[in-house]
Symmetry: C2
Subunit: 138 residues, 2 copies
């Protein structure tokens, strides 16, 4: 069930830099994280940022969501061990981990009713946060 083929990741300075940058919090695209890293003096390559974020995403250390525009956003996840969902502001990108009661059970039940197995679900709540809403008032 778990991977005996687990390749332990090397601690390179680029990996460390990404990990460090992620501490700033917030959802950003791979390119945005890359920009941020370069502005901080790193000469890390874009492909490396992509690779590192993907690796971290697969290992469950970062969350990823997809915007309407098809961009994938990443951020360090505070609670890697628990499956959860997000409420994200479409304007400023601020996001919070949320719990949607019964969702897991309900989706499992619906899947079962239709004879589906290996159920997965994608749930994303988006909106405009109060501070962005305030700014929008001219």
């Amino acid at each position: 069930m778990n991977d005996a083929t687990a390749p332990r990741p090397r601690m390179t300075k680029q990996r460390a830099a990404v990990l460090d940058a992620l501490d700033q919090g917030g959802f950003r695209s791979a390119q945005s994280w890359h920009d941020l890293l370069r502005h901080d003096g790193s000469n890390i390559g874009l492909a490396t940022v992509y690779r590192t974020l993907q690796a971290l995403s697969e290992s469950g250390d970062v969350d990823s969501v997809v915007t309407e525009g098809g961009e994938t956003l990443y951020r360090r996840c505070e609670t890697p061990e628990v499956h959860h969902h997000h409420l994200r502001c479409r304007v400023c990108g601020a996001a919070e981990d949320i719990d949607i009661p019964d969702l897991e059970e309900v989706s499992a039940r619906i899947g079962a009713e239709h004879g589906f197995i290996e159920l997965e679900h994608v749930v994303e709540l988006t909106g405009v946060c109060s501070s962005c809403a305030a700014k929008a008032q001219h």
Copy 2:
């Protein structure tokens, strides 16, 4: 709240062809619908298929979902007037309209609790349907 700037779409033969093709049912990518149309003798352009499907999607006449690979899939929606969700087979693409009890209210409540407005949600259930699961058994 509604659009006084509603441009009524012209009934061109390509729009009719797309509408006709959609009757075959099922989720397909724009490119896939385009292939299908060409195989049926149409000389419709790919860009037109994209434009038409997007227009139909915005007017609520077709559903669209995004695959893991980032492709957008479209299909004629049976129940355009009601907001609903889908349970889709990741193997064969078969999909059914489903109802997730209380989801609308729960998401609205969660949004409100966090001070968010203009809430929207994306919910997609995927799995492997019974017939695909059967085939998977060697």
